[in-house]
Amino acid sequence: MTSSSLAPPARVPLLLRFGVVERYTPVATMVLALIAIWYVASVAMNWTLVRDGFEREETPYTFSDVLAGTMEAERPLLPAPHQVINAFVDGVFGYSPLAPRSLIYHSLVTLSATVLGFVLGALFGIALALLIVHSRVLERSLLPWIICSQMVPVLALAPIFIVVLGALGLQGLLPKSIISAYLCFFPIAIGMVKGFTSPDPLQIELMRTWSATPRQVLWKLRWPASVPYLFASLKVAITISLVGAIVAELPTGGEAGIGARLLSGSYYGQTVQLWAALVAAAVLASSLIALVGLAERGVNSRMGGH
């Protein structure tokens, strides 16, 4: 045995030791590449706009003047990443949370419609799945309508819903939630039909040998067996629900909500505001999915998942 093998191991940098580098390098590389492409694109797309601006004002300009201008134009075709981030940070932290210019305020408006719509849609979807699983007749009569309901573009339906419900005296949160629910019940209904029918035939026969009632079969077998399907469809549904809420905000004329910010941004050519609202929507969607994922983890560990 040589003395070198007894020497203390060479010091490995902390980050390398826990695989942090291996884990995050691909993601970081991807993000950096996208940002680089974004900068190049914003320079290219805003170039003529900025140059024409200089020429209209008949001020002398150099190459570097135009280059700098493309990245801080007030109404660029494509805002540079730092402009979007600045606008987003300003929108989130720059105002009191309930001010009409605060992104937090608009996010909360959209979030409440999303969550209410999600809950309504989930309950409706699960109820439909239960009916379909328990009756062949209902399966044949309901399923075609459920599928048809999703072939109508929601962009066309949303104004009709808003107008009709408005005539009935319903305004604000509920109509938006109903559109959300209309979109998100579908993946839940389809997923839960699959989930409720997922138990092994042997497990169903065992329940029969114990003379279990249909309700016991549902609560002790079909419902727990469908939990993985439930969470898979909830993850799809929550993002669709957000899209539904945003779309539903468009025909309201842009009072409040992320949809309203998107609409007014595009009306007035406020592209930076538009992109900041998009970032807010993306952050909202990711956090909602993360929350569903967290709930899934919690439930899984209680149900013996591994």
Binding site: L202, E205, T209, W210, S211, K220, G304
Partner: protein
């Protein structure tokens, strides 16, 4: 050593059971004129090649399938009433445990369904887990147990509500030889200590001869009984009796029966 002096209560009394069903290839006679009497406390094995109707017969007794004709009394009742009265526990070839329930809660499942009190559930789960030597595994989940252990849990589950009879459909068919031998000994001990009536479907000759008080040999197309063999080894027998001439003689008779009923065309 005959016990015919005191006629025991019949747990299964089947007369002229037939079951036919239509398939795309025509009529299949799964059971043809099958008669079977099982007295309380007996261990009866149904043995035969696949398609001989042994599993179908078990399912008919369990009211999982209905015969086309014939009369059948289970525990003195119609099969449906016997099922509703929870007269039997059924063990399938696969353990069919509920993966989201711990071992203890799996055993409690039929008890929950049948409305036993919380306290009674706990006592029974504990008792039956120790009967199959799985004390200490209460809080484990099924995936943490081996196949043989899982099957023991499913036997404990079938016994938990104290049914009059145990119906077992090739319960050890998916296990390897060593585990199977071990479980055969355990099942024999369980049968002896609980005095339950057991109806046992298998296609293993040594298993049938080792466990049974009576072996019913069946044959396919149509599914029928071709031989019934009495078997009276001492109740505290061990696996060693499989080497004795008496054992081999009975095994030979079962084999002859199976051969006679089997068509080697296919």
């Amino acid at each position: 050593m005959s016990t015919k002096a005191t006629p025991k209560r019949l747990v299964v009394d089947a007369k002229a059971i037939s079951l036919t069903f239509e398939t795309a290839d025509g009529r299949v006679e799964a059971l043809s004129n099958v008669g079977l009497q099982v007295a309380e406390g007996e261990f009866v094995s149904l043995i035969g090649p696949s398609g001989c109707g042994k599993t179908t017969m078990l399912r008919v007794i369990a009211d999982l399938q209905q015969p086309t004709s014939g009369t059948l009394l289970v525990n003195g009742m119609t099969p449906e009433n016997a099922r509703l009265a929870r007269s039997y526990g059924y063990v399938f070839q696969a353990p069919a445990l509920f993966p989201w329930r711990t071992i203890e809660k799996n055993i409690k499942l039929p008890l929950e369904i049948m409305g036993f009190s919380e306290n009674e559930q706990k006592i029974r789960a504990e008792h039956h887990l120790s009967m199959v030597n799985l004390k200490g595994f209460e809080r484990k989940f099924p995936w943490q147990l081996s196949g043989g252990m899982q099957q023991r849990v499913s036997i404990a589950r079938a016994l938990s509500f104290d049914p009059a009879m145990l119906l077992m459909d090739e319960p050890f068919g998916a296990l390897d030889e060593i585990v199977r031998d071990h479980l055969n000994e355990q099942l024999l001990w369980l049968w002896r200590s609980t005095k339950k009536t057991v109806l046992f479907v298998t296609h293993s000759i040594p298993e049938a001869v080792f466990l049974s008080t009576r072996i019913v040999v069946m044959s396919p197309r149509p599914g029928r009984i071709i031989d019934v063999i009495d078997c009276d080894f001492p109740p505290d027998r061990s696996l060693e009796i499989r080497e004795t001439p008496e054992f081999l003689k009975i095994a030979q008779r079962v084999r002859n029966g199976l051969r006679a009923g089997h068509s080697y065309d296919e």
